[in-house]
């Protein structure tokens, strides 16, 4: 670093609107060579949009991006030396490592690729990153950690100025994560600027030098990380202090509603869980810890061994039987596993309980009353739509999530498993959903919430189980909640199994 650091990229009054909805407005910050900038914010704060404008996937609506003091209207990543590693990797599984690394810059003529040169480049890149990967291996045969490295190697071929990393550690093991951080340090030392997007505060403090905080598309803070502590940063992100966020929950009963014993599969092992009626149990952990897999296995969506009891009675693990016993599972991945995007809201609401929805005049035929019931749910859940015949794809993320919730509430469940109930949902809808969950518990339902949003779990659960690498490694009662302890337990590389409190 020089004495008078000159920003490699500067952002001035950057805004982006989709249709008429402004997603990001008036961002202004600088990115310096040899430094890592943390882009932090809650889900939906505008981090992805900002990232996509920086790497050229989106064109800003207004404002400008200066690359080494030259204004550019649309970033062309390869040309301007900016590259991004997206959360969802843009790799080709059926291509080899070296093909993947050099795909957008193949050496030799278009009609005569110089494969030895490409392989050499790949080998050099991988060697530089200090990881052992065979350049001839197919990418789909590599583990998540190595795929991440390949993606970084690919990005680095263009990124001579800025490398953007979006949640790069979510699928990595602790060891792989340390290796990645070492690589980032090395890149910084080489003068590269890093933009680091992460939910994990300790990672941000480990890797970054400065920060920009986004909240609801606004830039609410920036500065040097050395000047702020973690709590202050979190408060900037959420706009309120953590202590205020906790709501009063009714005391749970002591009647077990769901009892899971020794559930094991390829993704988890020896899972024991009990939830009582009126109780909200959180399952915390990193992505890839096996939480979603456990939830899906309980509901009968995945093969597993072990026993599930509902209200004390053995329940066969298939979706139909579980639904008949009052269990429901609200998926984390609405678009893939939840919504029927090209079908109307009405059908999305009735999908899981069509027969409970309607009164039939003729045996086996007709859907009388479906409309009215759907309208009731829309009103109850406060879903903002012009008409229940609108396709569910027309709705915002928050309203789509409410539709999912409405679909399952219509089955009149006693036990609800929520997987990331507020992912990609705006603050208002999040509040509505949390209130609905608290009400359900008060009404005596047993609830499990799987969430990567720790403040959310701290906020609305009675009890929290922490998963790491397919096992439950700890359990906390609400009075003993300690976010630092929970995070370190979830993320620790050590294999110690501590049963706190």
């Amino acid at each position: 670093m020089t004495d008078t650091p000159r920003p490699v990229v500067s952002v001035r009054d950057l805004s982006k609107a989709f249709a008429s909805k402004t997603v990001v407005s008036n961002l202004s910050f600088d990115i310096f060579p040899g430094e890592a900038l943390a882009l932090v914010g809650e889900n939906g704060a505008g981090k992805s949009t900002t990232k996509n404008m920086l790497c050229g996937l989106l064109t800003p609506t207004s404002g400008e991006i200066l690359v080494e003091d030259n204004p550019v209207t649309k970033v062309i990543g390869a040309e301007h030396g900016i590259s991004a590693v997206h959360q969802e990797l843009s790799l080709f599984g059926s291509l080899t490592v070296s093909e993947n690394i050099s795909i957008s810059n193949l050496p030799g003529h278009a009609a005569r690729i110089d494969w030895p040169a490409a392989e050499k480049t790949a080998r050099n890149q991988i060697e530089f990153l200090g990881i052992e990967i065979d350049p001839r291996a197919l990418v789909e045969t590599l583990g998540a950690g190595k795929q991440q490295i390949v993606e970084i190697a690919k990005a680095l071929l263009h990124a001579n100025k800025v490398l953007i990393l979006d949640e790069p550690t979510t699928s990595l093991t602790a060891i792989e994560r340390e290796k990645l951080f070492a690589i980032i340090d090395k890149l910084k030392a080489g003068g590269l600027a890093i933009v680091f997007i992460s939910h994990f505060m300790e990672e941000i403090y480990r890797v970054c030098d400065s920060f920009v905080v986004l909240r609801d598309g606004q830039q609410v803070g920036q500065g040097r990380l050395a000047d702020v502590n973690q709590r202050a940063l979190e408060e900037m992100m959420v706009g309120r202090t953590m202590a205020d966020a906790r709501v009063d929950l009714a005391a749970p009963t002591q009647v077990p509603a769901l009892d899971v014993r020794g559930l094991s599969s390829a993704d988890f092992t020896g899972i024991d869980l009990t939830v009582n009626a009126g109780e909200i149990l959180g399952i915390a952990g990193l992505m890839g810890a096996g939480r979603t897999e456990v939830a899906e296995a309980i509901f009968g969506l995945r093969p597993a061994t072990g026993e599930v009891r509902i209200k004390g009675e053995f329940a066969p693990r298939n979706v139909k039987a579980m639904m008949a016993r009052g269990l429901c599972y609200v998926t984390e991945d609405r678009r893939t596993n939840g919504l029927f995007l090209n079908r109307p809201v009405r059908e999305n609401l009735s999908a899981a309980s069509i027969l409970k929805f309607v009164q039939r005049k003729l045996r086996g035929f007709g859907f009388q009353g479906e409309k009215a019931k759907a309208q009731d749910i829309v009103a109850d859940m406060n879903i903002a739509i012009p008409h229940i015949e609108n396709n569910v794809s027309d709705l915002s993320g928050g309203n789509q999530q409410k539709v999912m919730l409405g679909r399952w509430l219509a089955t009149l469940p006693d036990i609800l498993i929520f997987d990331e109930p507020t992912k990609g949902v705006d603050i208002g809808a999040k509040f509505d959903i949390h209130a609905a969950i608290a009400d359900l518990a008060r009404a005596g339902k047993a609830i499990i919430i799987v969430s990567s949003d720790l403040p959310e779990l701290l906020h609305i659960t009675h009890r929290m189980a922490v998963m790491r690498k397919g096992r439950i490694v700890g359990e906390f009662m609400r009075d003993d909640y300690d976010s630092v302890k929970i995070i370190s337990l979830a993320a620790s590389a050590k294999e110690s199994t501590s049963n706190a409190a």
């Binding site: 139909k320 998926t331 029927f340 079908r343 059908e347 027969l355």
Partner: protein, 309 residues
């Protein structure tokens, strides 16, 4: 206006009908309309089967030659026993056996619909030709021949059979949980599974249904042509798929309806009939048909609002 947006196919039908009546005085005559309706009963029934498969997000390439196979088997049974009822049952059974084969392989063993039905298409074709030794089956009962020319209430009997099938399919799709489940599986099979729908069973049932439609179409083809002909289905695949997509039922699943397919069949029927009356040779008709199918599909995906009957 909304009607036009919902059913762009209706616009094409009206335009074609008006155009042809102006160009050929014979077009709008009762005799011609009767002939046109009767000739398209087979395609309409098969297209209903294909529509349901499309709605469930699949494709059934075998339906064309399943028509041939069931026609041949039915023809043989009728020639041997003289019983029309037995012949009808045979056609239905043969169609459903092929449908069940497709359904098991695609629904329960997760094979790709395209290749699976391409293979069963070959097998059904082979069955049709082997069983008939490659020639039209002789000995069709007289009733079948008469049936082909019967007219009830001014409408050919064959068309009435086809319309009954259409109405049953419409009711099944719009008013039963089976129909709803088909739509949900087609819209998003994974989400359907997460909502407790037995996706393999629904997928199986859809192919079974289209097999049955192939069987009925095969039986009707005997009445229509006077004989069970082993090559009857060979050229129908393009028309069947063309009619479905022209009506506005896409291949992505979960969008469209049986009612739209009726319109799609109508377009192709009027087009073929009108062009024949005008003396346009079949090869030029192929060109026009191809352009219409492509443009119609494009318009349906681009402008069609996504609402079914």
């Amino acid at each position: 206006m909304t009607l036009l947006r919902t059913y762009p196919a209706l616009v094409i039908i009206c335009a074609l009908a008006v155009g042809f009546s102006l160009l050929s005085p014979y077009f709008a005559s009762a005799g011609n309309i009767e002939a046109m309706l009767g000739a398209n009963a087979v395609v309409l029934i098969a297209a209903v089967g294909m529509t349901v498969v499309f709605l469930a997000g699949g494709i059934d390439l075998s339906i064309s030659t399943v028509i041939s196979a069931s026609a041949v088997m039915s023809g043989l049974v009728m020639a041997a026993t003289g019983s029309v009822a037995l012949g009808a049952l045979t056609a239905l059974a043969v169609g459903m056996v092929f449908g069940a084969l497709n359904g098991i392989l695609i629904g329960y063993f997760s094979l790709t619909p395209f290749i699976t039905t391409m293979a069963t298409q070959l097998i059904a074709r082979g069955v049709a030709f082997v069983m008939s030794a490659g020639i039209a089956v002789k000995g069709t009962p007289f009733f079948m021949l008469d049936f082909g020319f019967m007219v009830w209430f001014g409408i050919p009997a064959l068309t009435i059979v086809a319309l009954v099938v259409v109405v049953l399919a419409l009711v099944a799709m719009a008013r039963t949980t089976w129909g709803r489940q088909v739509m949900l599986v087609g819209s998003n099979a994974q989400a359907a599974r997460f909502s407790g729908v037995n996706v393999p069973a629904v997928t199986f049932s859809v192919y079974l249904f289209s097999g049955a439609m192939g069987g009925i179409a095969g039986f009707i083809s005997i009445a229509n042509l006077g004989n069970a002909i082993p090559g009857v289905g060979d050229t129908l695949l393009l028309i069947i798929i063309g009619a479905v997509v022209l009506g506005g039922t896409g291949m992505a699943g979960g969008e469209g309806s049986v009612g739209r397919t009726v319109l799609g069949v109508g377009i192709l029927a009027i087009l073929t009939n009108g062009l024949n009356l005008l003396g346009i040779p079949f090869y030029d008709q192929l060109i026009i048909q191809g352009i219409l199918i492509f443009v119609g599909t494009w318009m349906a995906t681009r402008f069609g609002s996504r609402r079914e009957i």
